[in-house]
Symmetry: D2
Subunit: 327 residues, 4 copies
Amino acid sequence: MKRIAILGASGYAGQELARLIAGHPEMQVDLLMSAREGQDPPPPKNSYEQAIQPLDLDALQYVDGVFLCTPHGATARFAAAALETGAKVVDLSADFRLRDPELYAETYELEHPAPALLDEAVYGLTEQKRGEISRARLVANPGCYPTAILLPLLPLQKAGLLQAAAPIIADCKSGLSGAGRSATATTHFGSVHENFRAYSPGSHRHSAEINQEFGNGDILFAPHLLPVFRGIYASIYVTPAKGTSAADMLACLEETYAGEAFIRLYGLGLPDLQGVQRSNFCDMAALQCGGQVLLISAIDNLVKGAAGQALQNMNLMLGIDESEGLL
Amino acid sequence: MKRIAILGASGYAGQELARLIAGHPEMQVDLLMSAREGQDPPPPKNSYEQAIQPLDLDALQYVDGVFLCTPHGATARFAAAALETGAKVVDLSADFRLRDPELYAETYELEHPAPALLDEAVYGLTEQKRGEISRARLVANPGCYPTAILLPLLPLQKAGLLQAAAPIIADCKSGLSGAGRSATATTHFGSVHENFRAYSPGSHRHSAEINQEFGNGDILFAPHLLPVFRGIYASIYVTPAKGTSAADMLACLEETYAGEAFIRLYGLGLPDLQGVQRSNFCDMAALQCGGQVLLISAIDNLVKGAAGQALQNMNLMLGIDESEGLL
Amino acid sequence: MKRIAILGASGYAGQELARLIAGHPEMQVDLLMSAREGQDPPPPKNSYEQAIQPLDLDALQYVDGVFLCTPHGATARFAAAALETGAKVVDLSADFRLRDPELYAETYELEHPAPALLDEAVYGLTEQKRGEISRARLVANPGCYPTAILLPLLPLQKAGLLQAAAPIIADCKSGLSGAGRSATATTHFGSVHENFRAYSPGSHRHSAEINQEFGNGDILFAPHLLPVFRGIYASIYVTPAKGTSAADMLACLEETYAGEAFIRLYGLGLPDLQGVQRSNFCDMAALQCGGQVLLISAIDNLVKGAAGQALQNMNLMLGIDESEGLL
Amino acid sequence: MKRIAILGASGYAGQELARLIAGHPEMQVDLLMSAREGQDPPPPKNSYEQAIQPLDLDALQYVDGVFLCTPHGATARFAAAALETGAKVVDLSADFRLRDPELYAETYELEHPAPALLDEAVYGLTEQKRGEISRARLVANPGCYPTAILLPLLPLQKAGLLQAAAPIIADCKSGLSGAGRSATATTHFGSVHENFRAYSPGSHRHSAEINQEFGNGDILFAPHLLPVFRGIYASIYVTPAKGTSAADMLACLEETYAGEAFIRLYGLGLPDLQGVQRSNFCDMAALQCGGQVLLISAIDNLVKGAAGQALQNMNLMLGIDESEGLL
């Protein structure tokens, strides 16, 4: 039984991890810690509930794996402390996603708090970096939007199926849980229910991460806020390389992801959010629309976009079957 | 007091018209008729409620204006009957939107039921066709999606601010009322609530109408279904003509629509659905996103996208101030 | 044209008043004031929008009517200042609802800030106190729940149709707007959406107001929070007096409220929230359930439960037709 | 591995059973059958998905347990056929809940289709009838509302804590999934979203079942429809026996349900729907409200109110630990 600590356990991602690990046959949660302990109302009374303690880095020395669900900026020093104990670390914050500390400083308006660790941190897009993740001490868990966007795009780019200079439009829609548990004007029921809107189009922080991994500054990322709790739906418009069709793209994705437990391709029909909610699946489709191709990708932002992929990565790092606790 | 008949009064658009006209100082609803009269449960008990009668075309001879909210295919013959009485007709169905009867037949899989009237029908995008509408006997009220897409795009096209051959992506999201009152698997609460999905991307019937008016087959129209009741949010991605910026586009829209009662431009901030629900407004913004420009357009699909624009048009046709009953 | 000031204009009730008065032929809003001016994001861009100013009591001297939508405790001194200018005042806070300053102190944990005004304040349940309201300088607008509960119960009590000592159960459900615009854990979308719960059963502050007006401590008031924005639905279980049936109660309500513009009785079918949202109606029904009778009452908490009834009262106080601006 | 068949697998309860059994270590679903096979769109693409076949009673001879999720009236003959093969049967329809065939005929307006089986059918309210269920061949799974109402009330009645002749009010609120997957005006998104209403108060079919088990015709059962998908929230108002308080009732429930895996008592705070959704828990509280006591009970109508309790019962009937597949 691997012993696990979750820091930042009072937020949505931390709670989701606790829920997932409660059903994991080879892991147990030893520590749930939160800096907000005592400030928040207790989470809903559920079977995996256990007391959340104040943050205490000394307690980490007895665990095998640490999930960091704390805010960016604060998280990097927890990572350093956890690594010193020999534990494997999956960081769900943005602190180790960008390899370049200057880009980090510009994007997050903050000097990077632990640049020495940047080199060894592995970007944890599981299906694309499985080998590196297995050998890593520190994994930077991808952002929710980048996960939804990169999983369909990277194989097509690698296979040369996208026209080189053409712009890529990623019109993305996320449920409110992506905005976290903080009570703000943005998260007020009256602002979200029976509403819909774009936010930060072209300037969202995930753009830096997306374009770093895609190796190309041309993805226009426009996030929108859905009146649902869970899920990201990405509608990605690409110009195919000459002679390439949606069917070619679908075939490429099917080949790339054959045997993957968590990738599902739709040959008929279209993905929807209900098909992926509370699961670690990423559902995809490719549709010919005149000269363009529409790629659709749907995930649960709290699972494949956060806690689920984090657990998938931790499984790999601790030598456990990758899908344990996730199916 | 102008006397008004509404055919197809049991549907959402018909009900919305009855609601609007109840507050109109120069119109009164004399006839509410529906082929489904007696089949449906009565509408919610509201002040503008009055008995819905079975369809009876003879009764139309005493009215000044007729709104047709009946299904396409069936509607054209009602239009012909209403015109014979000398009434002005606004048709909210799709029967007179496409000028080419062959395109109609292909799009709606139906021979056009009244091709003789196609020539005189005016496409009622009010802010673009005010003069023709004022003189028309028969107005084809635009579809909800085409209204949201064409209002921002047409002035930019006319001003030469869009790059000629570049694809235009219209990623649109609609509330469920766009699907009508019929009870189907699609409109079931369990299919819509806490869900989101694309439908008919690249093949929706409104594509024909959009591209007819835009005069260009290059608009990729991808509709999605939102778990809200009212509203359309269009995120339209365009490539600007050389040397053109989002600011230029905003300036063009401000100049074009200066003095318009129902067009609002956002220089700061972004439109959302709540800002337009239950109103006849179309809210717009233009944002620079790298080399592309994101145009946003938000309307209430039942008002500016249906009953509101229909009333705006009928006001013009009957010599009433265009915004009467709508502010 | 009567000149109107709204204090506390940034909250839901203040916004709703501004919306209603924008359509009122004999009133105009001269002043929108808020202590939070500059702290909040601006309200959605709508046609009735005008600049909200910081609170300034001196400005009140030129207005005919003042609506107070400020928090209880702070409001009483605004009322005093407004009355000195000769303006009519409708207070939407709880400051003048309870006639007994000791009960106020106990209920709101606060010494009453203006006890000298308590005697002349009229409890503004319009259909029950029309005469007094017409002559009043200061009206205490009823709470949303008390409005929904008292409108059906008071006539039945007066007519002796309720069994004297029997408990009355008022199981009430309110939309989230009743909790106001403040961002808290309670109003977070994630706490409300796809959820439902009771709160403060038997101990809610409105109990004092309900039982003061009902003249009887036996109403068990149990509020619950609905995942909707607007509306209160009260299911009230009463024991009829010997020989009395639901039909007798319905007849009594019909007789009492004959000619009322905003009371609708359901002889067939049942009220629902959609039937009253955005209107000043109170919809009622009475159903025999074995030996008990279930009274149902539905209102929009922001209209008949707040801004609408306040406007109805101000109309009376200023000599305007009671339903002006409300139909 | 016990082999399981689910009849009526295309409905919500059948789908929920398939989901639960997919995580059960000692059961496997061998047969998913539906009379509507081929008529409905396929369920969302999920990992437990498998082909749904047309109904074929011959296929039942190889299974150990049969869940009947088919409509009442049709179900009884499937039960008879399944029992002949020696399989254990849990019937989720209403066909065997009422012991008296005349009461069944009156309630469901249908002659009972298999009265010979009524005697041996056990009413499967697990925590109250565990012994009988363990020995049964045929279990009538309780209705969702009766489960939520009876679990708190039966122990209090047995302990004599309820005042004998006093009426009991069960004001219950259910999510829309209780209305099933059929597309009707009632289940249309536009009828449910941002709405709330009572339905069939005092005359709902579950009243017969509730009063049969409670042995007393005095429970006033008033169901209401919530704009959520999952969950039942029962607010039950009782008059305590002389000298009895809410604290006594809570103590009684704690003692009765000590050691139960799926009953949780709230000493502090109040249950809500989110606390029980997707779980087999029944959360309860007891609150003193003047002379009355408010009992609150919350369940997921599809789990503890249907598929979960059915699986709990089948576990007992097949000699498996009762909570297997449910925690």
